[in-house]
Symmetry: C2
């Protein structure tokens, strides 16, 4: 049996999970480098900032739900950003386990600088697609996300 007689053809580079992973990593790496260079923030820290900026008083657990980060990553990002002086934590008055998070004035300054940059970046990326294509991509990604969702027992 010759080497080329493969069970059935699998070309890694045409393999959807692989392509998605490479594309996502390429984009994430570039964005991470930008945020780090400009603001000294990791992607995780930036995600936390994005949701706290949008929803002041949010808790760590809620941040995790909104950002698809696990609680350890959230905890570490929060700790680092408090250290940096960008975040402030208050203990909830109604539930002593729960923390409520707010941007400090310095944090809000960074937030207001970084949001337009993030949006401009996304624009440069998705600007490679027409409006229709962007919507179609959204739709297709939604279908894939649904199919791959951990709730579904496909595999």
């Amino acid at each position: 049996m010759p080497d080329s007689d493969n069970v059935s053809l699998l070309r890694l580079r045409e393999f959807l999970p692989y392509r998605l992973s490479v594309l996502s990593n390429t984009i994430s790496t570039r964005i991470a480098a930008l945020y780090d260079r400009e603001f000294g923030l990791s992607i995780w820290q930036w995600r936390v900032m994005a949701v706290v900026g949008d929803r002041p008083g949010i808790s760590a657990t809620e941040i995790g739900q909104l950002t698809a980060m696990d609680k350890v990553a959230v905890s570490r990002a929060i700790a680092a950003m408090i250290q940096m002086g960008y975040l402030e934590r208050k203990t909830s008055e109604t539930d002593g386990r729960r923390s409520q998070l707010f941007l400090t004035p310095a944090g809000r300054d960074v937030y207001e600088l970084i949001v337009p940059i993030a949006l401009a970046e996304e624009q440069k990326l998705s600007g490679a697609l027409t409006e229709d294509e962007q919507q179609e991509l959204e739709r297709l990604m939604g279908k894939l996300a649904d199919a791959a969702s951990p709730d579904r027992e496909l595999w």
Copy 2:
């Protein structure tokens, strides 16, 4: 100035780089769990197996190019798979720095088991899309990959 008076609207969950990252991680995590459970292989090891199976005699550097893995990751995956008895390394006769990699019979057995499973999995995933949608997704991802490619100086 009210909290909601954001510079401009940024909703993380609608942010393309974020959505891509979450989708890709969801899929990768599930596949990694499957390969690990069934064959004790990491995603990186599986990628190496996929290209060596397809191109016996390939070198580590070439594997890196084909799989978008960095050379350290390739080196480690190869070492582990030699240890497992799935890969064999010969030094190139024309270039003593270069190694040539081959699946052992045991490696080929695993390869022949895993390829159809990988393809079936992809099928379950991309089966959520019609043929036309799959092609469209390919096309859109290609445009994004092009726009995000490290050669381009967008950012």
